[in-house]
Subunit: 194 residues, 2 copies
Amino acid sequence: MRITADAKETTRRKILAAALDLFRTIGFDATTTRKIAKHADIATGTLFNYFPTKEAIVTCMVMEAQPVAAQINPDQHDTLEEALFAHAAYSMRVLKPYRRFLLPLLETTWSPLAKPAADDAGQTLRAEHLEMVERLARPFVDAQRFTPVASQMYWTLYLGVLAHWINDKSPKQEDTLALLDQSIAMFVGWLQGE
Amino acid sequence: MRITADAKETTRRKILAAALDLFRTIGFDATTTRKIAKHADIATGTLFNYFPTKEAIVTCMVMEAQPVAAQINPDQHDTLEEALFAHAAYSMRVLKPYRRFLLPLLETTWSPLAKPAADDAGQTLRAEHLEMVERLARPFVDAQRFTPVASQMYWTLYLGVLAHWINDKSPKQEDTLALLDQSIAMFVGWLQGE
DNA sequence: TCTATTATATGAGCATGATCACAATAGAGC
DNA sequence: GCTCTATTGTGATCATGCTCATATAATAGA
């Protein structure tokens, strides 16, 4: 059983490595499941023993890149804007290697609003991110203010930023940072104001 | 030539009717292009002489439902919130018959942020909606304030509302209206404030 | 009215994500 | 070692969005 478990993990890693290589080289769409399988030296069917869908491979990559807990200290910042900006910027730094093929993840993390999927990995990412946002907001706003609607609106704005980021052509992605800045300002203004 | 043009239009309508019927009955995903073609009494290939993709059929339906110009009078409202709410609510009333299968349109109207597609019909819808928003904002905020970033943020929020709407299970979709209300409040607060 | 040209319809066929019945294999019990 | 069972690998196969060479019909020209 030990050996088998190791072998499984090896295959898993081989698939992830092969997929990442191809995604980087030829993009997500041009990377067929057959190519991934061939590149990883396994049969096409085997691929789906490890990942339920092609998108799940991307989701999985991103999940493994996320460190256990975001390294933002809630007490480190003077304003909520600052804290949220640091958190978002940090998340995006982690996501950066996958920027160019993040779209499928966005579509499946977005769509759950449409298809309330089961225990999807994308959902976990979302939940973790939002939990951190809430924790960061705690010192600055009354807990009652942070309703589910607030979470939802934050997430919508965050997705909007990511969607823009995916194709941001500006040299250092400064367009995206500006958008992020404005989005957070808008959100915080609303959350604290009124 | 006259007869042919008529025949083309007839076929077009037959396709749209067949598709709408199937989408309503069995949903977007379960409606295959073959089923649409069969239901419309044409060959599968013919379908694609009229619509480039399956999603385009939905987009087309929605476009035809949109009246030439949104019937909102800019001078009719006392506050920007009111005006924007009226506009969004009106748009959603128009979209209501298609609510359940709006997802593909959202994904292609959203994705263009990712894939800056050519002259897609979905883009037109977006542009028209945003133009109206800008016109409504004119009496209330300085024109300089309504930057492209502002448009983008409005659109993101609006899409968030629509995405929630698609699966809103509350009896009269009051959850969505609440979300819309908050989203607009947030946007207007930011646009006017600071 | 007959032919030539153009526009439209057709369905076999392709690419690809995913499935599934079956084959190979590894570990457990003896 | 040897069987037996459960787990994992395999590739033929399916479903479906879409394409394309060809067939068909419709109009223009004579």
